[in-house]
């Protein structure tokens, strides 16, 4: 395949060679995925039917792990939190990332500076950002000071001004934090594709008399369909697996009052605090099903714009 000249053979041989090339090019990634990822999935599926402890299996449980999960109130809360988080944070992330990318693409002076600046939250140490955010959202922190300046009294709120520490506002605060830090990453995804739109397209639009917003709505936005798909799918998959900020802000128990309990935090607890690997595996399988379903739904929704299927 490498450098072999195409013979003047029939269409059949050409397609076979193309297929062979296709398989060859994905061989290494696929092998690695099978061993280190998909393999783990099958392993988890297997052990999810057992009471499996640190040193191995003890009893065969059949579907009992799954029954327990589906009945567990805490798991219900975890799913509710993870889904709520995803549904809110993904559109915000996408909108923010797209806005930043289009802005950076459009502005003239200082473009490089702004491009670097907007990506910075993704680069900068999450330790610093999290600490700063915790400070800003503290009862005596920056946000409350600003609110007081405009005449609002945070201490009279139900959460007594403790944004991250109160069960009513904790999750929304994490949404705010994450939407902001991931905006830079989403911007990058969009930037890559924005650059691929040739200038002829814009010239043609201008000739037809289209203004800035119309061009964006009718031309740029639709042409970014592959990028939308990428950003949406990756965001949803990531959001459903929220763990780090929930763990840092709320601790392993999902405090305050399970407001920060997410599915992956629940899984973490099952593995590393309750040492029940079989149970954790069952949680992992359920999570996988949830995410996979969400991805399939997105695929159907964005499917028409996934051009590969048209070829």
């Amino acid at each position: 395949m490498l450098g072999i000249r195409l013979g003047r053979g029939s269409l059949g041989t050409e397609r076979a060679q193309e297929a062979l090339a296709g398989y060859a090019f994905i061989a290494i990634p696929l092998a690695l995925f099978m061993i280190f990822n998909i393999g783990s999935l099958f392993y988890s599926l297997y052990i999810s039917f057992w009471r499996w402890e640190i040193l191995g299996p003890t009893d065969f449980l059949g579907l009992r792990n799954y029954q327990f999960i589906l009945r567990d109130e805490i798991f219900h809360t975890a799913v509710k939190n993870s889904v709520y988080y995803t549904v809110i944070v993904v559109p915000i992330q996408m909108a923010l990332g797209l806005t930043l990318a289009v802005t950076v693409n459009q502005i003239w002076r200082g473009r490089s500076f702004f491009r670097a600046a907007f990506y910075f939250p993704a680069i900068a140490s999450s330790a610093a950002i999290t600490v700063l955010f915790i400070y800003i959202l503290a009862p005596d922190g920056l946000l409350n000071h600003l609110l007081e300046l405009i005449g609002v009294v945070p201490l009279s709120f139900h959460n007594r001004g403790n944004w991250l520490g109160h069960s009513d506002t904790a999750l929304n605060s994490v949404i705010g934090l994450n939407a902001w830090t991931t905006s830079g990453t989403m911007m990058l995804y969009y930037l890559g594709s924005l650059q691929a739109i040739p200038s002829e397209v814009y010239e043609a639009a201008k000739v037809d008399g289209a203004g800035g917003w119309t061009t964006f709505r009718r031309i740029t936005f639709p042409l970014l369909a592959p990028a939308h798909y990428l950003v949406a799918v990756v965001s949803v998959i990531g959001a459903l697996q929220l763990f780090d900020q929930a763990y840092i802000a709320g601790g392993a128990d999902g405090n305050p009052n399970y407001a920060l309990m997410t599915i992956v935090l629940y899984l973490y607890n099952a593995t590393f605090r309750q040492f029940e690997f079989g149970y954790a595996a069952a949680v992992g399988i359920v999570l996988f099903i949830i995410i996979f379903t969400a991805t399939l739904i997105q695929r159907r929704f964005f499917g028409s714009s996934d051009w590969a299927s048209s070829r």
Partner: protein
């Protein structure tokens, strides 16, 4: 590469009546003002990091921007009190991140190309499988992956440990996804001319498509480097000897159960952020220009 191709702001080019022009200028000033404000807010964490790295421990808990008694206590401590020493950690992080970036860029581009532009049976199903790998949290993978690596004898205090961790970071579905989506936006007749001249699939990929995909490659490179540079979980469980530890594992040495030694922690943060910033600035140029019109000619 110049700034003059691809997305030109239409508003700057159109001839306009006079009153629109002044309105537009005000609009632009407002936009710039917002952008500058936003950027300042963004740099705030980094400013705090930088300034705290020069403070004493008691002062580090306050949010002053300029330290009252500047000191290099943090940097000295970070340099001398880490296990292993800071330069060793830096090198470990650099090696692991560099290998991961190279493999991701190459395998991602090659695989992304295959998924986007080559036809083979089961292609969409296999791509869904690739996406599926993103749906398995690390916490779930830990025990089986660890056991596989143990069986391959890659969990050991020797250099084979690097092979172990490189296998984990070698290729990510996100890299494949980014490259695939990018290749989907390129016209399908691009490599036809090369193939008509008799080039094989790999040559068409290497000679024609790869040079055009610099923006996407840059994105993959930045994401991968940054992800592995800041990665904590896998280095924690895979790297056995302290001599192999990476910067995030060093960072956690200044965090304790109830407190943190902020000045050296922030000093390490500053030092750890520098390479990423440099890399990003280096790859910036690929976000300018993008597709040159010439490629689509003919």
């Amino acid at each position: 590469m110049s700034d003059t191709t691809a997305a030109r702001p239409l508003t700057a080019v159109e001839p306009l009546p006079d009153d629109n022009r002044s309105r537009r200028r005000i609009g632009r000033i407002v936009i710039y003002a917002i952008l500058i404000l936003y950027s300042l807010i963004i740099f705030l964490p980094f400013l705090w990091t930088l300034s705290t790295s020069f403070k004493t421990l008691p002062e580090s808990l306050q949010l002053t921007i300029i330290p009252r008694e500047p000191t290099t206590y943090g940097y000295v401590k970070a340099w001398t009190q880490l296990l292993p020493p800071l330069p060793v950690m830096f090198l470990n992080s650099a090696i692991i991140a560099a290998i991961a970036t190279l493999t991701n860029v190459f395998l991602g581009a090659l695989g992304g190309y295959a998924f986007a532009r080559l036809r083979f049976p089961g292609r969409e199903a296999l791509f869904l499988l690739v996406l599926g790998t993103l749906m398995i949290p690390d916490q779930l993978r830990l025990v089986p992956v660890y056991q596989i690596l143990v069986n391959l004898r890659l969990i050991a205090p020797g250099p084979e440990n690097y092979v172990g961790i490189s296998l984990i970071f070698a290729i990510s579905a996100t890299s494949l996804f980014i490259m695939r989506q990018f290749f989907l936006t390129l016209p399908f007749d691009l490599e036809e001319s090369a193939r008509m001249d008799g080039a094989g699939f790999f040559t068409a990929f290497w000679r024609v498509l790869l040079p055009l995909s610099r923006p996407a490659l840059a994105v993959v490179a930045i994401m991968t480097f940054q992800g592995t540079w800041n990665g904590f979980f896998w280095p924690l469980v895979i790297l056995q000897a302290p001599a192999h530890w990476t910067l995030p594992l060093g960072l956690s040495q200044f965090r304790f159960q109830y407190s943190a030694d902020w000045p050296p922690l922030m000093a390490m943060d500053v030092i750890a952020t520098v390479p990423i910033v440099l890399l990003y600035l280096f790859f910036q140029r690929y976000f300018v220009g993008g597709l040159s019109a010439g490629a689509v000619k003919g």
